[in-house]
Symmetry: C2
Subunit: 364 residues, 2 copies
């Protein structure tokens, strides 16, 4: 296979094409789209299909990770243990991944996950709060697992800051580090500069995880690889929060066509995606108007329901609410801001002047 | 608005950002997704919404253009005249566009469309058969309309060949020329080199029309603009054949964020897209496995139903059929090849060896 890039730093004419490690959070991020209600047969069936395709890591769990099943963010259909057992017994060569957000998941959740066969553990924090991962990464040092650390809502920090955080995470013991585009805000140049800064700062594999709010999930994943990322996330049919993730069965052949090796079998991968569409989701994610506004404003699409409700009550345009929340750099946990913003907009009555251009945090 | 590209040739710090002319074929290409069955109120409603958003050109008609309604490619719900009348009466500032494929449409169809108020007429041919547009472009020289000429399935020709064809089309009288990625095969570098070659060859605006089979419709449209294209097609929610087109309400704010001016109002555009999702389509297009294979193999997704039927009958993998059709450079009208290929695959029994890599025509 010949590299076909017109230019690019990530892919040259060396004999062995760069290897890209595909990480598949279909059974974790996809959970957001179905209120964390996947059952045992769904998990087992998809895990077996991904395993047959040669997907290196199959991540499973509640959308918000280990220990997160709750009234506040949604009760999962199964316990963490049941989910892990279902996937573990379906895997023959793929490794099993889990996700943990400090505050939701604890060390005892991690201990249980490892006992149940988790091979890859990802600890996620807000992009400027990598310190919160220290205790968990420290705990993982002595475990026989691969420890990843990832920065969420990463468009809210400058490239240099992300590189510093990643370097700190490597110091805590992370064997791979990287960034999530949680609100699907990035365009490819944004990804290139951030991943390049991180790649220059650390000597471990760099991770990139896309969302598709601006239709750029695949292009952003390619930009990340060209800038040096070597672990790329993708979900079958894009199954994930809001507009969905990078579509796994698209990003894999696109990377292969550009000369990168994934080791994934295309036909079996398409079979896995067909299974996912048929058995896991009511319909594949699409980019609706709220998703576009969420991506442009840099606000996590998980705010959608509350923004629509509150804007309706206050008689203001929910799009104005999103853009104002973006200006105020709202993040998950700050849902109280929605009421404040909506009330202010009602009182001031006029919409903000330049909705598209004035997005904070996205530009360097 | 400040250009936010890290680099790029198409967008610099000049005072006036480059103007991109948005061309909206929702009511023409979208027709492919609903068997050409849009009714008068649907056409009128969407046209009014697009007009309110400031979309420069609203294209309408049977998916295959003027005069194409037929048993062979599908009977439209309305006559060409009824479709044009419905859209015409809804437009106040947007101009009305029509599409014509020589062989389906005739000069008398053109004459009628112009009499009914068509402002922009597009003549499309296979990418190496621009000569077929000569007669129609000649006819349009004396009409008070803007005449575009576009090359379909353009991945099947090298950049230089496309540039030659476009130069010839300008000679025939086209006031804008460009390329369609009819099977959604391109990755951004493919678009860049082709549009750059055409832009260098002609002195009229260059057109780019994407399909989303490989998740690259928006990224490819951006690549086209950076390489010099100035007329970009987009459909509401991507409504179009197969995996759909560049999603209009995504590509517009993305271009704006990159510093290009479209003159389109974002909120009214999102309203138009919401109308389209609610009133025109059963569901927005998604990228299914056939669409991925169609994009990779460079075969028009209109082959889907027949490939699935015939492959099922012969007991062969429809994906193998697509890749072999791609190798043989099959184009619309060559549906007989499907039977031939499927029978050969059944006899030889083994699947082709390198499905992803060996795509003809796509690589320079």
């Amino acid at each position: 296979m010949t590299p076909r890039e017109s230019s690019g730093t990530g892919c040259t004419s060396e004999a062995d094409p760069p290897r890209i490690h595909i990480h598949d959070p279909t059974l974790r991020d996809g959970h957001h789209a179905v209120r964390h209600r996947l059952g045992r047969e769904q998990l087992r069936g998809y895990a077996a299909a991904a395993d047959a395709a040669g997907i290196p890591v199959v991540e499973v769990g509640h959308g918000n990770g280990l220990g997160a099943s709750s009234l506040q963010v949604g009760r999962a259909a199964l316990s963490d243990a049941s989910m892990l057992e279902a996937v573990r017994e379906a895997l023959t060569t793929s490794r099993m991944g889990v996700f943990l957000l400090p505050g939701w998941g604890t060390s005892s959740d991690l201990r249980q996950a490892i006992a149940l066969g988790a091979d890859v553990v990802r600890v996620g924090t807000h992009c400027t709060e990598g310190d919160l991962a220290e205790r968990h990464l420290d705990f993982l040092r002595d475990a026989e697992v691969e420890a990843h650390a990832v920065l969420l809502m990463s468009h809210m920090a400058a490239p240099e800051r992300l590189a510093e955080e990643c370097l700190r995470l490597v110091g805590f013991g992370a064997s791979a580090v990287g960034i999530f585009d949680s609100s699907g805000h990035y365009l490819p140049p944004d990804v290139s500069e951030r991943v390049a800064a991180i790649t220059a700062a650390v000597d471990v594999p760099v991770i990139f995880h896309a969302h598709n709010n601006l239709g750029m999930a695949v292009a952003n994943s390619v930009a990340a690889v060209r800038a040096g990322a070597r672990i790329i996330d993708g979900c079958a049919r894009g199954f994930g929060a809001g507009a969905g993730n990078a579509q796994l069965e698209v990003v894999v052949p696109v990377l292969e066509r550009l000369g990168y090796a994934t080791g994934v079998d295309l036909y079996r991968l398409l079979d896995a995606a067909d299974f996912a569409e048929r058995e896991l989701m009511p319909a594949p994610p699409t980019i609706d108007s709220v998703a576009v506004v969420s991506g442009l404003s840099g606000v996590f699409s998980g705010f959608k329901t509350r923004v629509l409700d509150i804007a309706g009550r206050e008689g203001v345009d929910p799009r104005d609410v999103f853009f104002e929340l973006g200006r105020r750099q709202a993040v998950a946990g700050q849902e109280d801001l929605i009421v404040e913003v909506a009330e202010e907009l009602r009182r001031s009555s006029g919409p903000p002047s330049t909705p598209v251009a004035a997005v904070p945090g996205g530009a360097p």
